[in-house]
């Protein structure tokens, strides 16, 4: 029991729990989950469903960050995925069929893999710093998405495609099942094989791991492709959620949410060790925070401030130095009072 606070997931989980408690106090029905039209319905389900894209992007980001890299282009890639899929569906001969949707999804993911190959090429072959290499697509990517949609919001009407974002299987949202599926596969591949260790090795010292016989370049390249793939899937969910591709706003700032989720989850930006469970907790935290703002009625003018304060508080909670400082002050105060009396 005493070791519990030392577990690296203790503080993120505590923060998430506290945030949920705040919501329950503000709206007692917050935890209520009921059946509605044959699926689960409630705030908690919303958090899971709306958190799914962030979780996906954060999963890809976790591996990239573990190699001491960063991928800023995920938001733009998400926008491109949505744009490609929606434009394909809208332009096809049979815009309502499942076949069209599957082709559209495959096409969009293929484009994203290509973009991931490009990012990976810049980082692993040309040796450009990841923040710069992915900045290229971050700024240019939305332009590409605009080009695909012709600057318009493309609305589609395809029930199969819509299901990716809003559908339910076994009463649970498809979006979260997909994300958890990707999480499970990632965990299996990185933790049951040596791949996870190799990724960490590359993150700690690429040169040393290369000399030890690890194919650093291939591993680097792979994580960027994986990140772009996850971003693409997230982009499809975002587009499917409203059945529309909005090149300007889809996935806007999702890269920052994802990085935050990874960091809250305890993965260091300095590379090396990573925690997929931590990322899951971090993503759920971000999604809960987004739901908290309207639920407890924070005014629009101050909602960014509210988020900032919460995030700073969580970061301080996670910092051993900050905790130690608070702890020491808390202990010293009673003794100084005593000294004063004496």
């Amino acid at each position: 029991m005493r070791d519990l606070p030392r577990h690296r997931l203790f503080w993120p989980v505590l923060a998430l729990t506290l945030l949920l408690v705040v919501n329950v106090v503000a709206t007692p029905s917050f935890v209520q989950v009921r059946m509605q039209d044959g699926h689960l319905y409630g705030s908690l389900v919303d958090i899971l469903r709306n958190g799914a894209p962030v979780l996906l992007v954060a999963l890809g980001m976790t591996l990239v960050i573990a190699t001491r890299g960063i991928d800023l282009s995920v938001g733009a890639i998400a926008a491109i995925a949505g744009a490609v899929a929606c434009v394909h569906i809208a332009g096809s001969g049979d815009p309502g069929s499942a076949g069209t949707a599957i082709t559209a999804i495959a096409l969009a993911l293929a484009v994203c893999v290509l973009l991931g190959l490009w990012n990976g090429f810049l980082v692993s072959v040309l040796g450009i710093q990841p923040i710069i290499a992915t900045l290229v697509l971050m700024t240019a990517g939305r332009g590409l998405a605009m080009l695909v949609t012709g600057g318009q919001i493309t609305t589609v009407n395809n029930s199969f495609f819509k299901a990716v974002g809003t559908g339910y299987v076994f009463t649970l949202p498809v979006a979260i099942l997909l994300s958890l599926g990707v999480l499970a596969v990632t965990a299996l591949v990185t933790r049951r094989t040596a791949l996870g260790m190799l990724v960490e090795a590359v993150g700690i010292n690429p040169e040393a791991s290369r000399l030890a016989g690890v194919r650093s370049r291939t591993i680097l390249w792979t994580v960027y492709v994986f990140s772009a793939f996850c971003a693409g899937l997230a982009g499809l969910m975002i587009a499917a959620n409203t059945s529309a591709a909005d090149a300007n706003n889809a996935g806007l700032w999702i890269e920052l949410d994802a990085i935050l989720a990874v960091v809250i989850g305890g993965t260091s930006l300095a590379g090396g060790r990573f925690s997929l469970t931590g990322t899951l907790v971090g993503a759920l935290f971000i999604a809960t925070l987004a739901t908290t703002v309207p639920t407890i009625g924070i005014p629009s003018e101050t909602n960014y401030l509210f988020k900032a304060v919460v995030v700073i508080a969580v970061c301080l909670l996670q910092s051993p130095k900050a905790r130690a400082a608070v702890w020491r002050r808390g202990r010293r105060r009673p003794s100084t009072v005593k000294a004063g009396r004496a």
Binding site: D37, Y41, G151, T166, A250, S300, E301
Partner: protein, 328 residues
């Protein structure tokens, strides 16, 4: 051969200068067809903007106005460059939608010195010197909010969907700090104060996007009991709210009334389908009014300093009638 060409050239110069004299001498002599307009557009960032551009290009063609068009890709420096080039080309009139409100004084001074009148469209500039432009043609966002509020006051009995004597409104705001978001909220609030039963119980920004509108509405549906009305600052957020309401097992338009602003095609389709109850138009089709103003300005006629775009409102029946010819 050379002599003949130079004769033609001299002739052309003479004719040109004569025409210039004529144009300067009496305004009636200048033919309407000969107007050249330089238009510096913001960019192509939304469906609304694309419709705006198309309207201006199409009307110019119809009215025989020679249009020099530039797309600033949402950058002020591009717009300033475009305006300077229009000044050098000595166009008859310059029109533009400023990307931002400030920083226009220098370039507009240059236009003024070159005696080229300037018309602002859609967005205004923040300058103390109103002599820098002839007129500002655009929507009145406060008025749009007032129209939405008026409709709700008139239909308050119907809008009280749960018949509990209170009309509870949730508001989906536009991007925090944007003029349309501030003004549309202000106009609406002002008008609904006429009926004490109407109350805004929650308000949150949905950033003018479908996704934002949907997420905020999902939370409102769970945290706010007995919502009667949704007032969304644009169609897109309203469309997102519709999805959230449907997912909650309620019928948008019946169980919860929806009022939006813009009247883009997707919004009008939802209105005609009965999912939205009322849309206040924010008209991007400024072309005809702009060309009309341009002609007046070039002919030296007086124009009002502020011209409000001709805008209407749509209920479900009107939407069904208007939908087939909706251009954007």
């Amino acid at each position: 051969m050379i002599r003949r060409m130079s004769a033609v050239a001299v002739g052309a110069v003479l004719v040109g200068s004569l025409a210039a004299c004529g144009g300067g001498g009496s305004s009636d002599a200048s033919d309407d067809d000969s107007i050249t307009m330089g238009f510096a557009q913001v960019g192509a960032e939304s469906g609304w903007r694309t419709a705006n551009t198309k309207s201006i290009k199409d009307t110019a063609k119809q009215e025989g106005v020679t249009l020099k068009f530039s797309d600033a890709q949402q950058k002020q420096e591009n717009q300033i460059k475009a305006i300077r080039s229009y000044i050098q080309q000595k166009v008859d009139v310059i029109a533009f939608s400023p990307v931002v409100e400030t920083g226009w004084d220098t370039v507009l001074q240059e236009a003024k010195r070159a005696k080229i009148p300037v018309i602002l469209t859609d967005r205004s500039v923040d300058s103390d010197d109103t002599s820098l432009y002839e007129t500002f043609l655009g929507s009145d966002f406060v008025l749009e909010g007032e129209k939405a509020g008026d409709w709700l006051v008139e239909n308050a009995d119907e809008a009280d969907t749960d018949k509990n004597g209170a009309v509870k409104v949730v508001q989906l705001e536009g991007t925090t700090g944007a003029a349309p978001a501030i003004d549309r909220a202000e106009g609406f609030k002002e008008k609904i104060s006429a009926d004490p039963r109407i109350e805004i119980t929650a308000s949150q920004t949905g950033d003018f996007t479908r996704d934002g509108g949907k997420k905020v509405m999902e939370s409102f549906l769970k945290s706010q009991p007995d919502i009667d009305v949704v007032y969304a600052h644009n169609d897109d957020m309203g469309l997102g709210a519709i999805e959230a309401i449907e997912a909650a097992g309620k019928t948008p338009g019946t169980d919860i009334k929806i009022i939006t602003v813009d009247a883009v095609k997707d919004g009008m389709t939802a209105l005609a389908a009965g999912k939205i109850n009322f849309i206040v138009e924010c008209n991007p089709l400024l072309g005809p009014q702009l060309m009309d103003l341009a002609k007046k300005v070039v002919n030296g006629e007086d124009v009002p300093e502020r011209v409000v775009t001709e805008e209407t409102t749509f209920d479900q029946e009107q939407a069904k009638a208007a939908l087939p010819d909706r251009q954007y």
